[in-house]
């Protein structure tokens, strides 16, 4: 009979965290910006059909970096959770906070109990009536749940991009200006030009009614001023 080696819990958690961080750190970055006009989520995605940014509910959007199948599983579970809650109670009862909490519980459980932790980092963005009511929740691979203020960046090079985004962010940026800010920040840090068709966007539109999530149109994208 073989006796398993003793591994101290600190080491176990560290190994798992290092493993997950490595996976997340390879993910193409996503920038999230709160604005007067709404909340913009944008990132490079060469696939037109495998989405990283999606609609969860009337005023809630989702973005994930890391392994596609893992954050897609989370997104689908989130849509089910939200639709079920809205169907059973009322549409207003579906909140970003409860969803972010549910994600945090689930990821925490997977991190400590499953064979392999999820290699993901996700954002739950909730649109308020005014910008002060907006909420950005960030949930990491181990279930760590944090509030983000005004802006958030996930994925490869997130610290450098976050720095550059924060410097030029203003609440009164137009949608096109915000797109320009996010795309140039990513391009500068990655030191390469990214084709305009390679961006995936999601926008929670404060002017929208009921379902406020939409994709940015080609015209709005092209209106983005050159810097």
């Amino acid at each position: 009979m073989t006796v398993p080696f003793y591994v101290p819990p600190e080491q176990l958690v560290k190994d798992r965290a290092d493993f997950a961080k490595k996976g997340v750190g390879r993910g193409r970055p996503i920038v999230v910006l709160q604005l007067d006009v709404g909340i913009l989520l944008i990132g490079e995605n060469s696939s037109p059909s495998l989405r990283k940014i999606g609609e969860i509910y009337d005023r809630i959007a989702f973005a994930g970096v890391g392994r596609f199948n893992e954050f897609e599983t989370l997104r689908v579970a989130g849509v089910r959770y939200a639709d079920l809650k809205g169907f059973s109670y009322a549409r207003d009862d579906v909140t970003g906070k409860s969803l972010a909490n549910a994600y945090s519980q689930t990821l925490g459980q997977i991190f400590s109990h499953e064979v392999k932790p999820y290699e993901v980092d996700i954002i739950v963005a909730e649109l308020g009536v005014e910008m002060d009511g907006d909420k950005l929740f960030r949930v990491q691979f181990d279930g760590t749940l944090r509030d983000a203020e005004r802006t958030a960046v996930l994925g490869a090079g997130e610290d450098a991009i976050a720095e550059s985004v924060k410097d030029s962010w203003r609440p009164d940026l137009s949608l096109s200006e915000a797109i320009r800010l996010a795309t140039t920040s990513i391009e500068q840090v990655e030191d390469r030009r990214i084709d305009a068709t390679a961006w995936e966007t999601g926008f929670l539109d404060r002017a929208g009614e009921r379902r406020t999530f939409r994709r940015v149109t080609v015209e709005e994208f092209e209106d983005a001023p050159e810097q």
């Binding site: 989370l74 849509v79 089910r80 959770y81 079920l84 969803l99 689930t106 997977i110």
Partner: protein, 265 residues
């Protein structure tokens, strides 16, 4: 069903559920709305009556009266029977009111759920077939007298035309090219439309024709309520065109209803 599957929360990963189907989530969690009776309390349950749909130049429109009856009584005067189903389709239901409202809510959620999970809307045909399946699911109740019969219309985003579907109690689905009606006053409304309807009506003519068909039904059927100018109660009308679903406002309907009522023989 295992007890683990029942209920709303928490978030669940890896459930064996058909991707994109909200109905399948409800089935898995044991939350599908159900009604069971040994003897249905027939006269105590409000019933919604006449609804109609017709095609016009830019698409389709659907209209419903506002009355719900329970036995001989008028149960409600401002019931809504016509609803947008999603951005490009609308659904109207006649029959047992409480069940109808729940089924419409379920239908709306299913369409939205599919769109969010799959990233694209169901085809118009797909939506109509799903609605037929929902009606079939309540067949046992239909035999007890609790019938729900919908009309469904939408703008086909592929072939760019308005289409309309009627259904029967066993979930049969029928394409209609011109107009369709259902409910207790449906026969009367249908004979009116049969003599008046023409292809390519403009919006004003289509609206006024829909209102007049409901008035004609209300004149003959006690369970159908005509426009009530004194109480400001007008039919619900929804149009579906290339631009999507649009609910016609009461302020637009008020003068039309007044003219129609005035001009009735």
């Amino acid at each position: 069903m295992n007890s683990e599957g029942v209920g709303i929360g928490p978030l669940r990963i890896g459930e064996p559920i058909d991707a994109g189907s909200f109905m399948s989530v409800l089935e898995h969690r044991g939350l599908v709305p159900e009604w069971r009776f040994d003897t249905p309390p027939k006269d105590a349950i409000p019933e919604a009556t006449t609804v109609l749909a017709l095609t016009w130049a830019d698409g389709v429109l659907m209209a419903g009266d506002r009355r719900a009856t329970a036995g001989n009584l008028i149960a409600h005067r401002r019931v809504r029977k016509v609803y947008p189903a999603d951005e490009y389709s609308a659904v109207a239901i006649a029959g047992t009111a409480g069940m109808a409202v729940e089924l419409i809510k379920l239908f709306q959620t299913e369409l939205e759920h599919y769109e969010k999970i799959e990233g694209s809307r169901l085809s118009l045909e797909g939506k109509a077939n799903f609605l037929a399946r929902m009606i079939r699911g309540n067949l046992a109740l239909a035999f007890q007298g609790l019938v729900v019969i919908p009309l469904f219309c939408g703008f086909d985003e592929v072939d760019h035309s308005g289409r309309l579907f009627s259904f029967d109690v066993v979930g049969g689905r029928y394409d209609e090219l011109s107009y369709a009606t259902t409910g207790s006053g449906g026969g009367e409304a249908k004979s009116f439309l049969k003599s008046e309807w023409k292809p390519s009506l403009d919006r004003a003519a289509a609206l006024s024709m829909a209102v007049e068909a409901l008035v004609a039904a209300a004149e003959e059927d006690a369970a159908t309520g005509g426009p009530d100018l004194k109480r400001d109660i007008y039919p619900n009308i929804v149009t579906v065109t290339r631009e999507g679903v649009d609910e016609v406002s009461d302020s637009e309907l008020a003068p039309i209803a007044a003219t129609v009522v005035e001009g009735r023989p």
